[in-house]
Structure formats: C-alpha cells, structure tokens
Symmetry: C2
Subunit: 105 residues, 2 copies
DNA sequence: ACTTTACATAACCAAAAGGTTATACATGGG
DNA sequence: CCCATGTATAACCTTTTGGTTATGTAAAGT
C-alpha cells in the first residue's frame, strides 16, 4: 500500500511551479505544458506525481483535463513538513496558524 | 552560485533522522554511523548533502568530525516554506484557518 | 468523414541518488 | 615507532528520476 510522500511531491522545482500556476486558477494540461519548455509527456509525469500525492485533482471535460489544487491536502502536506522542521526548532505547528492570521488583510 | 534547496535536504528519511539526532546534541560522524545500519561512506554522503545545503555545520576536532545543526539556516528554511505555502494558499486563508482551528485537539 | 487538437502510452536514455566494498590517510595512544 | 581508530576517497552497482521521441486514441471542428 502506497505511503504518500510529500517530500517527493514538493521536492521538484517544476512541480512547485505547477502548483503556483494552479493557484491563479484551474488549468488544462495544455496550458501547463505551454508554460514550460519540456515535453507534454514530461509534464504529464509531474502531474501524475502530484495526483498520486493527492496535491492536485483532475477533472475530465471533453477532450480536456483540467487540474486544480487540492487545498486541503496541500495545507496538510506543508503542515507535515513544517512540523518536521518545527520539531527541530522547538517551535511547533501553531506558528503556521499565527502566520496565517497575521497574513490576513 | 548554488541555491540551497531545503526540499532536497529534507527529501530523504535518513537525513531527517540525522537532523533529529543532532537536535539532541552535537554528534561525531562515528556516533551518527552507529545509529544507522548503512555504511560509513553512505552516512558521509548524507552528511555532505546536509552540509551542501548548509543545514548542518562541521567542526574538526583532532581525528573527529563533529556535526551540529545550523539553527539559523533551519529558521530560514522554515520561513521559506511558510512563504511558499503563503503564496499558494493566501487567498484561501480564511477557510483554512477555520479548518485548522476545527482540526485542533 | 476527415483532420485537428488534446491527451495517453510505450520505449528508451542519461544522470542522479543511495547504496556497497575496498583501500588510503591522518590522528592519538601504547 | 607501531597500531588501532576515525574519517576520506575511489570504484562500482542498482534503481529512480526527469527527460526524450514516436505513436496511439478520443473528442471536436469543418
């Protein structure tokens, strides 16, 4: 059984850029491919990793594949990583909530 | 010029365990090697990655190499990751904050 | 019906990652 | 000086990763 590995998902800069792209709105695979200068199958592999880790979701719309962030999972993922670093720094998870509260406008 | 990649540094479970070890105090390479059942050169490679990413520092003490956490860099890494998650989630902060508050126990 | 268009899939490749064993080097103790 | 200990380095191996090209398939436009 597959153990989701958030470090794997976020460990690649292309994948992080894809996530940033999706922040500004849902995107088709075509649009994502156009934003990088790697091939369509290469992009698709990155999307598969993000799908496997459940960081993004896919919707089929005719011949299009529309991708969008799974904000819940993404937040959980970062929470996990921050928790690991937080453990090392002796200041824990609540600082994320603090950050989010201060960051609101 | 080399851009430190915190995601790479934390991407391996052995390295995360090494960091956890170092949290409880500085360690010689010998002690770190003893804590895993992989070879000394394998451990050394992990240490090199952590050194490259400047997450840990090395001190030469006679024939010993003493490793310790670079808390400042960890702090920076933490901030970097907070920034990343902020970038991704900022316009959804409200619902996430609600989620986190409900999710706390 | 035919042809684009968007995506899927297969086969392949080079380089990186994570490990090994064997061996060299340097320091400290007897 | 000699030997044990701690670390460094070299050579090698396997698997994974991130990419490629080529080709197949399904939906949409004309």
């Amino acid at each position: 059984m597959y153990m989701p590995d958030i470090y794997r998902a976020l460990g690649d800069p292309t994948r992080r850029k894809i996530l940033l792209m999706l922040k500004s709105g849902d995107k088709t695979q075509k649009e994502i491919v156009a934003a990088f200068n790697i091939s369509q199958p290469a992009v698709k592999k990155h999307l598969k990793v993000l799908l496997d880790e459940q960081i993004i979701k896919e919707q089929i719309h005719g011949k299009y594949r529309i991708y969008h962030l799974d904000l819940h999972m993404l937040q959980t993922a970062y929470q996990e990583m921050l928790h690991d670093i937080g453990d090392l720094l002796d200041h824990k998870l609540h600082s994320l909530k603090d950050y989010m509260e201060k960051g609101e406008d």
